[in-house]
Amino acid sequence: MKRKSFVAENPSILWFLAALALFTIFVTAMSEAAGIGVVSTSFIKTLGKTLCLCLIAVAMDIVWGYCGILSLGHFAFFGLGGYAIGMWLMYARTEIIVTESLSAAAIPPTPEEIHDAVATQIFGVVGTNEFPLIWAFADSLFMQLAFVILVPGLLALVFGWLAFRSRVTGVYLSILTQAMTLALSLYLFQNDSGLRGNNGLSGLQNIPYLGDVPQSMISIAFFWASAVALGLGYVLCAYVVSGKMGSVIRGIRDNESRVRFLGYHVESYKLFVFTLTAVIAAIAGALYYPQAGIINPAEIAPIASIYLAVWVAIGGRGRLYGAVIGAAFVSLLSSWFTGGGAPSIPLGFYTIQWTDWWLVLLGLSFVAVTLLAPQGIGGLFDLIGKKSKSEGAK
């Protein structure tokens, strides 16, 4: 008997892709680039960044919602992806500026002179004027793109291998991943880490060799790239959790020992899922930071990874669209509240400023979701689905 294709088994994928495509085209049509300008360039960037956050949320959903590994370290991979692409963006742009200023001199500059000047320009703020070893390939876009995948992938592979091999599970693994993130961010905070310490990499929104293209066009391009990445990532993740492999992964979540006794090599499955999601997270980061314009070690502090878990939990674990909804909903709501968009509530004796109270609300609503609605927002779809089914049965 031939198996049904996995898309046919999962009609929700088509629904999701259709919604994503419609949304992307709608936003593009309304953008400044298309001449209408209802949606401002900065808001397009916000939407593009949100799509990247949705992508990492999907990855998080696979690793936590499907495989039961509550990783508190996936934002580290996200940040590493951002750093890898940021190195090229910063190097290439600085090189263009430096070459221009040096060519004004009587004698044309040598390649070494340009290289040294770029180093001084980039690392002057941390008191050095030499390139650290990790910048060896910063002038090659291809190599840095490879690093976006290789560095976080390798880190996840080594870390996961060490952790799963010694059967660290449950909350211990969560704490261990958190420790990894903390170690990485503390390391990057140092000035001699080779990535400009707490200054981070900046000016990433200016894409080299595209100086003449207006930001409105670039923002649309990145918006599309983020949408395509989200679509592809979603389909890939849906494929991974469907079929027999998906069953094994879910089995590990529900009862790891039983799956092991059935003869499956649990560690390999976990390692595969962990590494795959780390790479997806890194790609999301590489698309996110050129839109954000700046990356610094504070971005990969442990708290960021916990927020990631919060998004997925609010959206609904164990369903991919839940992760997307959670990330989009919470991060957009968060920027609405903290950006001063929400009206203050005067209580007579005290006025609630949402910039101050939003985190309190988020924290408490998070407790409420965990206690009262473990299925998250995605659970609502189940209720609707049940209702329509029972109505159809009448």
């Binding site: 009587a106 044309p108 070494e112 449950g170 211990y172 170690a183 503390l186 924290g363 473990p374």
Partner: protein, 650 residues
Amino acid sequence: MLRATLLVIAFCLALPAQMATAQDSPLQTLLQSQAGEVAKPGRRSVGVVIDALVAETPEGTALFLERWQNKGVFLNENDGLFYYAQKSGDGYELFDIATDAPVGTATKDELTEIRPNGGVRRVIGGALVQFQLSDPDKERRTAALDAILRSPDASQIDPLRASTEGEPDNALRALKERLANLLTARFGASTDDRITAINALSGTMDVDSRAALNQILTKSAAVAPELPQDANIARVLTVGEDISQQDAYAQLVDAGIAPERQTADTIKARLSDNIVDGRVGGIPVGQLSSEENREKAYAALAQAGTVPPLVTDETIQTAINEHAFFETYAESDAAITTAAETALSEVESRVARNQIFDVSLDAISLASIYFLAAIGLAITFGVMGVINMAHGEFIMMGAYTGYVVQQIIPDYTLSLVVALPLAFAVTFAAGVAMERLVIRWLYHRPLETLLATFGISIALQQLAKNIFGTQARPLTSPGWLDGAWVINDVVQIANIRIAIFVLALIFLGLILFVLNKTRLGLEVRAVTQNPGMAASMGINPDRINMLTFGLGSGIAGIAGVAIGLYAKVTSEMGADYIVQSFMTVVVGGVGNVWGTLAGATLIGGLQKGIEWFNPSNTLAAQTYMILFIILFIQFRPRGVVALKGRAAGD
């Protein structure tokens, strides 16, 4: 009118009569015998006056020397005598130089201020020190010793030794002996004296002795065609090993032996100075974008004699081969430098041993802070298995409780006595409330406890920020906790850290007692091992869980007060400790108070150890520590103290 005139005459007559009394003192007589030298002292010739003064030491010599040095002595042109003078109104008030008693007035024109130059003042100062050293005022003696310490000098040795005998104060006498020894080591008259003094120094480890030894061992780098025979050579430097080729050549350049090497920048500057018709040395400017072509162009210019010839690697190598590089001691006597080297290495190894001890004390103190922060968690996470991400915020709540209490009770000791139990009460209540409202619904879903308590954590953090603001609040420790326990020059520990250590010990004892020796402890252990069985034995698991969680949270509150005393109180202080606390519990081994102790000791010791190797970088220390912990868990996943058997649970 006549009366007034008479009065003026009488007054004028009275003045010389008063001055005659001043002339009687032996000091004035002695000074008058050398009046010219006193009035216009010269650096070389002033010694005669000073020697005479020191030899006879008439009354008031010390004060005179001091005033002389500070330009306080005046010559009265009327009678040719010396006075101290002080400006009063239009004129000056005069004082006797022997007794410092007021003796009359004079106008500005009548007085000449005596102004010794810098060299003379130093000579006077040297003579002065011996008077100050035996001054009856203890503070002046201390000041004189400080002055010697600041600018040590050969001439101070004898007065110092002379004043040691009569020194009534024991501490000062010891200081004088030490100083005399230091001075002898550096400036002693004979080699034997100096070596004896240097050997005595090897038993100390204070900064001054080390500085003195290093002064004796001052080295300077030198270069010569051949090693000189007469110099006291510290060591011969091998180029490539002890000294880099670049530095060696720089030394040759500094000594004026070799021409400076052209840098890329100077070459470039020369080239752009010599552009002729778009060409430099025959090479078009457009082709000068490579090092190779630039060197060719420069060589062409050098050939034409426009620029000095290029210093190449070969010329550098030849120049270096032709010279010997070495370090010489400023001290010419080899016996002394050898003794000083031995003494210094002895001192340094003793200092290193003490530093290790000091770092161990630091490590213990850090470990007790981690232990305090983690011990509450050891109960809620270790014994109950509940991940409480808000544990850090309980620490913060405790610290803020201490801060609020200090606002109400101004006495720091009393407020601390009130704050400790109050912090326990507040966080105990918060813990119980949290257990009742949130955690008890999630006992079978540990990962979700983590997230729910994280929600509480961010809500509490923001709440604290809204109430107390973002700036750090002080929690002042009482006066008796300030200061430090100084063991020797290298080892010392702040009292507050000792207090925290004691507090940690008390808690260790208290918790061991509660868990192992009381009914509550028995019930807690029963409920954690098997809630169902415990319930059937008549224990109410709900109540026990509530109390245990409250206890763990309450201890976090007290830890908060202790931590707040030495660190600052901010809304984020809890977050700083939460990851470390979890590490401590996990590394130590879950479910065991001894494990937490082991974990805290390990982590505290490790962090201080790494910091010792790289003291400027605490961030790196934390990074490496976390990496170590990640690796450690590979080999002992259940921690240092692993539970075995049924107690181990799954």
